[in-house]
């Protein structure tokens, strides 16, 4: 078992004929992901890496039984693409697209909540269940099947930590890049609950960064609900206030969203916090030895 996706999951790619869509469809297929359809309006009937392209999500779903959409369309078109995916009844929509205006993101997430559709992202690397299914742009080669669930606001930082874990022989159950924007679909809390309920996952690595209060809220939840060990890492201890650090969501404003506040919240919740990424390995090794809280 794994979280949200597995080797049976059928995926369609919106924006499959664009550069990003084309490249990553190839990589996902190579990884073994079941990409069953692509969608680009007006290009129905074409093929990309042997995957048939349809004009609408509705048709692609009807013809192939896809239940998950991975969106690669440009920022200003993502709202439309997401609504189309929701309307067609996708169960999970993974939005890789970066630079979506926040006014659109609010609408996307609101509509997803109304319809109880799961959204990962926007502005995220996607989700991977190593050895089974990769949706998004994670470099699959870095990951190994195993027992550690990972949740992260950052793409390459996830790869960094996954790499050290894999190198140390510690595999991952599922890794979810929740995205670096201020408004996102599944957050730390929702993903923590998923991993808590997943029998395959024995420990959870949570990678946060400056900006917002999602980490503080996650710490609250861990204290109350999460039975499995959680190891946290927070990026941005040296980030200056008031400056956006790449991600739209990574900004300390009005004294809120500092790394210190997040580290403190986790420590208050008895969550081990790694000072540096490579320390995660040792903390995970320690944690897995402990019996699970009941």
């Amino acid at each position: 078992m794994s979280v949200l996706i597995n080797k049976e999951t059928k995926i369609l790619v919106q924006g499959i004929t664009g550069n990003m869509g084309k490249t990553h469809t190839g990589l996902m297929l190579k990884y073994g992901t079941k990409i069953v359809a692509g969608v680009t309006p007006g290009k129905g009937g074409q093929e990309v890496h042997g995957v048939k392209v349809y004009d609408t999500v509705q048709e692609a779903k009807e013809k192939t039984g896809a239940t998950v959409s991975c969106i690669f369309v440009p920022g200003f078109y993502a709202l439309d693409a997401a609504y189309e995916a929701f309307d067609a009844g996708m169960e999970l929509v993974v939005i890789i697209t970066e630079g979506i205006p926040p006014h659109d993101e609010v609408k996307i997430i609101r509509r997803a909540n109304e319809l109880k559709t799961n959204v990962i992202g926007p502005n995220c690397p996607g989700i991977i269940t190593p050895g089974e299914c990769l949706i998004g742009i994670h470099p699959g080669i870095i990951y190994k099947p195993g027992k550690v669930g990972m949740i992260s606001r950052s793409g390459t930082l996830t790869y960094e930590v996954a790499l050290t874990l894999s190198n140390a022989g510690i595999g991952q159950s599922t890794c979810i890049g929740i995205g670096g924007d201020p408004v996102i679909g599944l957050g730390f809390k929702e993903c923590l609950r998923l991993f808590n309920d997943d029998p395959k996952t024995e420990a959870i690595v949570l990678m946060g960064e400056i900006g917002g209060t999602a980490e503080e809220e996650a710490a609250e939840l861990i204290k109350k609900e999460i039975k499995k060990p959680v190891i946290a890492y927070i990026a941005g201890r040296t980030a200056p206030p008031g400056k956006r650090m790449g991600h739209a969501g990574a900004i300390i404003s009005g004294g809120k969203g500092t790394a210190d506040s997040k580290v403190k919240a986790f420590k208050d919740a008895n969550v081990e916090v790694a000072d540096i990424p490579s320390q995660v390995v040792a903390l995970v090794q320690d944690a897995i030895k402990q019996p699970i809280k009941v």
Partner: protein, 370 residues
């Protein structure tokens, strides 16, 4: 993109939010063309907060005073930013100051209205601020709810809620991150007036806002020259005080690398994220921007990615090493085509250290220590 006060007020005025009639000057002598009644208020047009404290707002009773003040204020540095224009307006007789604003609440995943019946500086963090979330489409009753929660009643309730309706239409139509009036005042003669206004246009949405096309560069006043260049080149650069220049892919990894530099005894000179899938040209531009910072003693390049082609990065590094023999570079380069990259870098003296901690320690050791 943060707008200047006078721009925000012009836009507010255009949809019927009452603002004082003011004039903008860029040269002190322009005060001789003023068509305003005295006393006036003279306000430095800078995007930084704390303008009042820094002496950037003055009152004058006549032309001579205005001229003297204008001469002093033009060029005044406020939090490191030089004043290049002044807004001059008739002084308002204030009966009561309020605060209203609209912004995005990350936690709620919705837009929120904020309001307080106390205006003025640092109100944002005051307990008196009331919040009304906009759970679905904005409708005027939300403005009334906010005005009510601010303790307003009778005609004042309607006047303020009408202002909020208009402010929301700007917020929505212009893709704003923030629309704020502080203070919004009732004057002694019973009118309502937006005395100061802030508007921030969302950076990811600005390309679909034709009204603001071409405005961006003029509004990047709080960044260094190199940060401005980076922005134009589509690179995320934030400069800091340290000696170790940093080039990474991905915002989280860049921050983590900065943190590691600090952890191992160095100080980062910057945040620079080249993004995913950077090619040779992009990495070259990044190297140049970081190297141009005179504080930078050593450059730490940390690229980890599935899709970033390491050979492209290596080509940029090779060219850079040839052209800048005096600049030290420490590289950590993992991912697609990393063997090709190693081949390219052979003989350049640049060595790639696979382990991130080792790479950072090396950079600190090679001259980055505080």
């Amino acid at each position: 993109m943060k707008l200047f006060e006078f721009e925000a007020k012009t836009i507010m005025g255009s949809i019927g939010i009452p603002v004082p009639k003011g004039q903008i000057i860029k040269v002190a002598e322009e005060v001789f063309n003023l068509k305003l009644q005295y006393p006036v208020v003279i306000k430095c047009q800078v995007q930084s907060g704390g303008r009042g404290k820094a002496g950037g707002v003055k009152f004058a009773d006549n032309l001579d005073e205005t001229y003297e003040i204008a001469k002093k204020l033009l060029g005044l540095e406020i939090n490191g930013i030089k004043t290049s224009s002044l807004l001059i307006e008739p002084k308002t007789d204030i009966e009561k100051e309020l605060y209203v604003a609209i912004t995005l609440d990350r936690g709620r995943k919705s837009h929120i209205l904020l309001g307080s019946s106390e205006g003025g500086v640092e109100i944002e963090s005051s307990d008196s601020v009331k919040i009304i979330p906009v759970q679905t489409e904005y409708k005027p009753y939300l403005g009334r709810k906010l005005a009510k929660s601010m303790g307003l009643s009778e005609s004042k309730l309607n006047m303020v809620s009408e202002i909020i309706n208009k402010l929301y239409s700007l917020y929505e139509n212009y893709d704003l991150d923030l629309a704020e009036i502080n203070p919004l005042v009732f004057t002694k003669d019973g009118k309502i007036l937006a005395l100061d206004g802030k508007m921030t246009v969302n950076d990811d949405a600005i390309d679909r806002q034709p009204f603001f096309q071409g405005w961006e560069i003029n509004h990047l006043t709080d960044v260094s020259e190199r940060e401005l260049k980076a922005k134009i080149a589509g690179l995320n650069l934030v400069e800091l005080k340290g000696k170790i220049g940093i080039i990474c892919n991905g915002a989280g990894l860049t921050m983590a690398t900065m943190d590691l530099v600090k952890k191992y005894g160095g100080e980062p000179a910057n945040f620079l994220d080249v993004g995913g899938g950077a090619d040779e040209g992009r990495v070259k531009r990044a190297l140049k921007l970081v190297a141009d910072n005179p504080n930078v003693k050593i450059i730490l390049v940390n690229i980890l990615g599935g899709i970033t082609a390491c050979d492209e990065v290596a080509k940029a590094l090779k060219t850079f090493a040839v052209e800048n023999v005096d600049k030290k570079v420490v590289v950590r380069l993992l991912g697609n085509n990393q063997e090709k990259a190693a081949e390219i870098m052979k003989g350049t003296g640049i060595k790639s250290i696979d382990n991130l901690d080792m790479a950072v320690k090396e950079a600190v050791a090679l001259g980055g220590k505080v």
